[in-house]
């Protein structure tokens, strides 16, 4: 079936089998391999994207759900297309060593950005609770938590300008 949606700011139309998962559509058809697949039980969160501004696990979303929707993936999180300017949350992860192997990182970032957008003054407990659906095996979470709090503060400071 034909599905039209806005992908990282651009109108996109694809012809897919209705049973296609969004994570597969992104990775296999659209060559957006920044969205990762780390499990088969919707536990790990490596595949989190934003559907109409809300974080969702793209491994449990079927392609028809994209009809008319706005989808943001890690590839669209940066500043202007083609620029190397990063989102404040990405900058915070780099600044505070919030990643090691990088595999969980796109999902962590997408969840973190949504968390920060949802609540202006995140506490450490908010962040830890909010990251419950994203598993990282490398960092022990400590620097991720620090990064998310710093990134959220930077996002809010940016919004206030």
């Amino acid at each position: 079936m034909q599905i039209s949606f806005i992908l990282n700011g651009r109108p996109t139309t694809v012809d897919v089998e209705p049973a296609t998962l969004v994570a597969e559509l992104l990775r296999e058809r659209l060559s957006l391999t920044g969205t990762h697949i780390g499990c088969d039980t919707s536990q790990c969160g490596a595949c989190v994207v934003h559907l109409n501004g809300l974080p969702v696990k793209s491994c449990t979303l079927l392609a028809p759900a994209l009809m008319g929707a706005t989808l943001l993936t890690i590839e669209g999180l940066q500043g202007a297309p083609g620029s190397n300017r990063m989102h404040p949350m990405q900058e915070a992860f780099r600044e505070h060593h919030g990643l090691q192997c990088g595999f969980c990182t796109p999902g962590m970032l997408m969840t973190a950005v949504a968390l920060a957008a949802e609540k202006p003054n995140l506490t450490e407990a908010d962040v830890r609770h909010g990251l419950e659906g994203n598993i990282c095996r490398c960092t022990g979470y400590q620097n991720i938590v620090v990064s998310v709090m710093a990134g959220a503060a930077a996002m809010n400071a940016g919004n206030g300008e």
Partner: protein, 795 residues
């Protein structure tokens, strides 16, 4: 001026840009023209005779290209998956080493054992065809636990391995230990289980194989921690592919923790199949598939006894362990519970006599091999637990008994009774630092506050040492290693003075692209941004043994350091010629070659330029170019260690253990990048906390089914399980590595399980609890509390 960012600085990581923007290059991201999809059909039974596989229906399914089985492997005369270590028993009798076919032949020995490989145009078609494969099994009784496996009458996995015992291994002076026990004023005893773990790197394993008939070359992209070793083991010992016709690439790899440091059958099957079907093939494991095929870790049953004199001095330590090997010998399998376990039983103590017996046992479970720490967490757990048991039984404070037995700083180098000689260390310094950092002085106040809420609070210590920087080849060879364990680095200086390093270690999260660039920046005086690190490709990197055993900086970094020394040495010869001075008078400092006592200098860039444009150059005595290589074989292991202090709160109503504080003071030698070291410690600690509180691989005893076969059944640590940890370093310098480094990748995982369980036992000690097996889940603690005489809560 060059932007030198050297040893001790914390620049942001070079590798982060691509990972933060979704531009990493993991195996599953790679596409090749004409790519076919492969899926493995795995045994659903723990133990069965494989009577036959009927391919007819599967071959007729849409899109199917081929179906390969163990018979096809046998027809092609291919080898068995090799084991990299051969251990022997006390009499020198080698371990039993049954073949490990890449696709099962005659029998399957664990749930997940590979039976067939189905190749089709798409993954969906391959999966659909796999469902149509008819496999005829004659199901046999399974045995999954080590105690059961060695009992008379237990199911036998192999015809020629009686009682499923692969090797009855021992270490130490048995009679000296027996003598010491006879003189002991007190003997502490402890029985424990070291729980079976599943490593779960977030990136599932994957591989792509391609054969180019035009050049007769194979390429394998694989999620590996050691591509050159895969090339050797698979090419030379399994598939008979000459080394120069086989390229193995391990690009960005999403975490390893040991799980990806073995040569897996999937790699061999897919490479072999790519030539048979003349198509590139891709296989990506699902997480569920990883659970039943990624090599597992730990799984010991142990009886330990510690003999003490009346003052609490340790006289002798005796350990008997049954170690689970699973259904076959994996690449390093038999080495882990023996050579990486027994020699660590001395810990940071002066125990004069130690004896260790390990029976290495086959069972109908996934093969067991190295997982972060590998042998050393198990040794540390036994020792640090029994020290607490002894202290409690003798009425000695737990810190005091450790102090009485600790190796003093001035006693290094220290020869233990179990092979290893510690070159350096200061366990007392780490302990003192941790006691302050953990605010142990005020623990009583915090305990009272918990009690007022009806909670039990406990404090646990682990003062430990490990052996890493694998490994001195000659020593390892005497212990049964079948390969060398050196490392290599090439430093290629370009004509413009920028530097590319080719190194045989593999970066899968450890930040090598940053740390190694800092070493080069410091040693050559070049800008940090002008150094790139290349790894993970046998066509680009000369050779290497990969990354595991906290070896990358210790062994690889040493090779890199030596290679930069050679660059400087050659640069001095060039500079001497250009500056018309004697070579001995040339000094190199901060990126400049100068004649001592003069203002005549040449920059590093000028020397590089001269080396590649050798018009004014001593060609008669010196080759053009500026590229040097070093192989480094360490003379000893390194011995990082430290003191970890865990603080827990137990809710007696639910049995829930909450980790409320965690402090680690570790001696990792010279720290190149403090930010990265801290990150390694955090991650390592949480993996150890996972073992202590959450993680457990559980098999059904009768069927051999893995019950904890998904992220929903196997509890991984999550962000809200952890408090903010306090980590610090208290370094003594390694005396035999070029930069004094010791390695930091595994210390966290080695020190932490004992600290956490000691804290849990401390919290419950007033109820008469003397030991808690891992993981200390709410269920386990709640049951324990129901059996204990629970006093009325403190409210």
């Amino acid at each position: 001026m060059a932007n030198v960012i050297g040893i001790g600085a914390s620049p942001k990581r070079k590798e982060d840009q691509r990972f933060l923007t979704g531009r990493g290059n993991y195996v599953s991201d790679i596409k090749r023209p004409g790519l076919a999809a492969g899926v493995f059909v795995r045994s659903p039974h723990g133990h069965a005779v494989l009577r036959g596989v009927d391919k007819v229906a599967a071959l007729a399914a849409p899109g199917v290209i081929a179906v390969l089985t163990g018979d096809d492997v046998a027809d092609d005369g291919l080898g068995s998956l090799p084991c990299g270590w051969g251990i022997s028993d006390a009499k020198g009798v080698p371990m039993k080493e049954p073949p490990f076919p890449m696709l099962a032949q005659d029998k399957v020995r664990f749930v997940g054992d590979m039976v067939a490989f189905v190749i089709a145009e798409t993954p969906e078609q391959a999966n659909a065809a796999a469902e149509l494969l008819t496999v005829d099994y004659e199901v046999l009784p399974s045995v999954v636990g080590v105690l059961e496996a060695i009992r008379p009458g237990a199911p036998q996995l192999f015809k020629d391995v009686p009682n499923n015992i692969c090797c009855d291994w021992e270490l130490g002076d048995k009679s000296a230990v027996e003598t010491a026990f006879r003189k002991a004023a007190h003997v502490a005893k402890l029985s424990l289980v070291n729980n079976r773990l599943i490593g779960n790197p977030m990136e599932p394993r994957a591989a792509i194989a391609e054969y180019e008939p035009g050049t007769d070359r194979f390429t394998l992209w694989t999620t590996s921690q050691f591509p050159h070793v895969v090339r050797f083991l698979m090419g030379a010992l399994v598939l008979n592919i000459p080394q120069h016709k086989l390229r193995v690439v391990a690009p960005d790899v999403g975490g390893g923790f040991g799980v990806k440091q073995f040569h897996y059958g999937e790699e061999a099957v897919i490479t072999w199949a790519a030539k048979r079907v003349m198509r590139p093939i891709k296989w990506v494991a699902s997480r569920s598939e990883g659970y039943v095929s990624d090599r597992h870790g730990r799984d010991h049953v142990t009886e330990a006894e510690l003999a003490l004199d009346e003052t609490g001095k340790f006289l002798a330590f005796r350990v008997n362990t049954l170690a689970n090997m699973g259904g076959y010998l994996s690449t390093f399998g038999p080495n882990i519970p023996t050579n990486l376990y027994g020699p660590l039983l001395g810990g940071v103590y002066t125990t004069p006599a130690i004896y260790c017996n390990v029976k290495v046992v086959f069972t109908n479970t996934v093969p067991v091999d190295a997982y972060r720490g590998a042998g050393r967490p198990e040794a540390t757990f036994v020792l640090e637990r029994i020290v607490d048991v002894a202290a409690s039984e003798m009425g000695i404070d737990r810190v005091e008994i450790r102090r009485r037995n600790m190796i003093p700083r001035e006693a290094y180098p220290y020869q233990t009774p179990v092979l290893v000689q510690y070159d350096s260390g200061d366990p007392m310094g780490c302990l003192d630092g941790a006691l302050v950092a953990a605010d142990v002085r005020n623990f009583g106040i915090r305990k009272a506050a918990s009690a007022s809420k009806g909670k039990f609070r406990g404090l646990g210590y682990s003062t430990y040492v490990e052996a890493c920087g694998l490994a001195p080849s000659r020593f390892a060879g005497r212990l049964g290693a079948r390969g060398g364990l050196y490392e290599s680095a090439t430093v290629r200086v370009h004509p413009t003075g920028q530097v590319t390093v080719m190194i045989g270690t593999h970066n899968h999260g450890q930040g090598h692209e940053t740390t190694f660039a800092q070493i080069v920046s410091e040693k050559l005086g070049v800008s940090f941004e002008n150094v790139d690190i290349v790894f993970g490709d046998t066509d680009r990197v000369q050779f290497g043994m990969g990354t595991y055993g906290s070896r990358s900086l210790v062994v690889g970094g040493a090779a890199l350091s030596r290679a930069t020394d050679k660059v400087v040495a050659k640069g001095k010869k060039i500079a001497a010629h250009l500056l018309e001075a004697a070579e001995v008078d040339i000094q190199f400092e901060a990126g400049r070659f100068s004649v001592a006592g003069t203002d005549r200098t040449k920059t590093f860039e000028e020397i590089a330029g001269a080396a590649y444009v050798p018009h004014d150059y001593p060609l008669e005595v010196l080759e053009p170019g500026l590229e040097e290589q070093a192989y480094y074989d360490p003379v000893n292991f390194t011995y990082p260690g430290g003191c970890h202090i865990a603080e827990v709160e137990v809710d007696p109503e639910t049995g829930t253990v909450t980790l409320v504080n965690y402090t680690a003071v570790d001696d990792v030698g010279t720290v190149i990048n403090p930010m990265i070291v801290e990150g390694q410690l955090h991650g390592g600690i949480v993996q150890g906390v996972g073992q202590a509180l959450f993680e457990n691989a559980v098999y059904d005893e009768s069927s051999g089914q893995l019950l904890s076969g998904s992220l929903m059944d196997y509890c991984m640590p999550r962000a809200d399980h952890m408090p903010m940890m306090t980590v610090a370093t208290h370094s003594t310098l390694c005396t035999h590595t070029p930069m004094g480094v010791k390695g930091c990748g595994e210390v966290g995982t080695i020190g932490s399980p004992a600290a956490v369980i000691n804290a849990v036992v401390d919290a419950l000690s007033h109820l008469g609890v003397t030991h808690v097996d891992m993981p200390a889940t709410p269920n386990r603690i709640w049951r324990l509390l129901q059996n204990a005489s629970l006093p009325v809560a403190a409210e």
